[in-house]
Symmetry: C2
Subunit: 354 residues, 2 copies
């Protein structure tokens, strides 16, 4: 069936949309029954990981500034990041969509371009789905199943362990600011609008916008770290370092001390932030959506972890240490001394009360 991509879903209808989606989803290894029955049937290891995360229009993305293909990629990526941060290998996903009736089917097709492309890259099968008419915002809910290896939990850090992060922080949060300033990527992640900035900032704009719209968590490195037992605790940074580090501290019964100078701030994000008169460190500490790893690493394991990260071409930074103290507390240390670091990450309910 050839379908005009501008057909509104309200005209197409739910069953036709489901048939259309189903026809696009390929078979995948381990999938015994895929989309189209009451439930999917899949082969699993005796021990499975499950996670669920959503992207909601107006909260996580805006229809006017996020190309739907990239929204689809990110909807899967944020879940891939969770499975990897547990030490697992992602296998199967279900996708539940809540869509307004006036939305054009072409938008859903581009979303699925992104979902299917990211699924192919990650070697996972999309095995189930659901579409519902919503009254307003688009919501994409993905549940991801994975095989568990050696688990990497949030609990388990010991006093003296180093606080380690992968990559550089702040670019994704900077991407949100750049989108608000009119900078835009197209479906393929190419720069099409520079917003308030000039062409001379093009490389930095692309890097920060991609970090926000099409993040690339260090999935393979996460699994390798878990397999080799190189970290005692770990999670991904989704809400921001200052919000996520207290989780490891709280579940491990420890305090963490972070050296301000050691926090790896993304250089391109820092340049934009400084030009704006803002503070790059604040962005890196509180920005969120970095989808990098936050780890508790024993001092003896640190060299091996650094070697492993080098193999994958990923930077790692030791930014502080875990110490005995109040469970869940994080302290920031700089030239001026040491003070409590309050969680400043994203709180969707409070940040933008409806």
């Amino acid at each position: 069936m050839t379908l005009d991509p501008r057909t509104p879903l309200g005209v197409l209808g739910e069953k036709a949309l489901l048939r259309h989606i189903r026809a696009r989803v390929p078979a995948a290894p381990g999938v015994v029954v895929g989309i189209g029955d009451d439930a999917a049937a899949v082969e699993m290891a005796p021990f499975a990981l499950v996670t669920t995360d959503s992207l909601v229009e107006g909260v996580h993305f805006e229809r006017g500034s996020a190309p739907p293909r990239l929204v689809g990629r990110k909807a899967l990526t944020v879940n891939l990041s969770d499975i990897a941060a547990m030490g697992g290998l992602a296998r199967y996903a279900t996708v539940s969509l809540c869509l307004p009736a006036e939305l054009e089917v072409g938008w859903v097709d581009s979303l699925y371009d992104g979902l299917l492309g990211r699924a192919a890259e990650a070697g996972i099968g999309i095995v189930g789905g659901n579409v519902t008419r919503g009254r307003g915002a688009i919501a994409i809910d993905v549940t991801l199943l994975g095989d568990a290896g050696r688990l990497l939990l949030r609990a388990g850090a010991k006093p003296g362990d180093r606080v380690v992060v992968t990559g550089r922080l702040g670019a994704s949060a900077e991407g949100v600011r750049l989108l608000a300033e009119g900078a835009r990527l197209d479906e393929e992640g190419r720069l099409v609008e520079t917003g308030v900035w000039t062409e001379s900032s093009a490389d930095g704009l692309v890097a920060c916008l991609r970090a926000q719209l099409d993040p690339r968590p260090p999935l393979a490195l996460a699994r390798s770290i878990a397999e080799r037992g190189l970290a005692r605790a770990g999670m991904d940074i989704s809400d921001g370092l200052s919000s996520d580090l207290p989780e490891i501290c709280s579940q491990s019964g420890l305090t963490a001390i972070v050296d301000a100078d050691a926090v790896p701030v993304d250089a391109r994000a820092a340049a934009f932030e400084r030009a704006r008169g803002g503070d790059p460190l604040t962005l890196a500490l509180h920005g969120g959506e970095d989808y990098q790893l936050l780890l508790a690493v024993g001092p003896d394991e640190l060299p091996e972890l650094e070697d492993l990260a080098r193999v994958w071409g990923i930077e790692v930074s030791a930014i502080g240490e875990f110490v005995d103290g109040e469970a869940g507390e994080v302290r920031l240390r700089d030239a001026a001394g040491e003070r409590a670091l309050a969680p400043g990450g994203h709180d969707h309910f409070r940040a933008n009360p409806a």
Copy 2:
């Protein structure tokens, strides 16, 4: 922490809401890591079932007429029905909520009363969750994992198989009409408003409202039928007989002929519908949300299936047969002759274009 149930979520905040929910979810068998890490870790059989289904305010329920505890029960029930209709045993659920910031935490607590109560009845663990601020309607997305036994697929019906349904049809759709007419149940499923009807209709009102707000699919019977191989194909009736039967026909490459007189119309729903001047058969054929089983049963298996259903106290009706013919077609036979039965079930996008 004692929490005023009237606290709006926008005041409470996302992290506090997650902590509050997490504190309420009990441990469950097979759950190695529950809510609170990057993903849950659960024990699984080598072969797993996965399904996902949502309830969205304004589409599946109205805040003013559906008590949140019953919304929570139903959000799980519709997924339990899918796993059972595949022949599986439900094990673990994840719950993803999209909630407006002005919603009071008491509403979420009542929703969880229902989710947790239904989970306890069904012996499943809630292992993961997610909350996001939405811009308008409440959405509850549940993904359910189950152990697969002998699968009961939609494909597999043979010519000569009988079309069999469990229970009686139409009460749930009648419940929607009664809600629109002002009839109401409270959180416990007790009648508190009769709407346009009188107290003399109380029993019928309760039965139809409960069928809509707190459906009880024949979960154990479904699994027994699958285990014993008493049906060659099967699914649950969620969109309505006229929409769901074509699915079995289409996936089995057959036509089905339904005898109008044999369709088991719920007597209480029929009484309301007749009083309103409507047609009870139309309600039973097209109403939807019955969450009964629709099966293809070999003529030799029918007596054993009837015996088994009697053990569970569930009515079964043979309402027609599968025949060679156009794949996916359903024909209705009555005294006036035989004609094509067009799918008239719920299409959320087309029924109520935004």
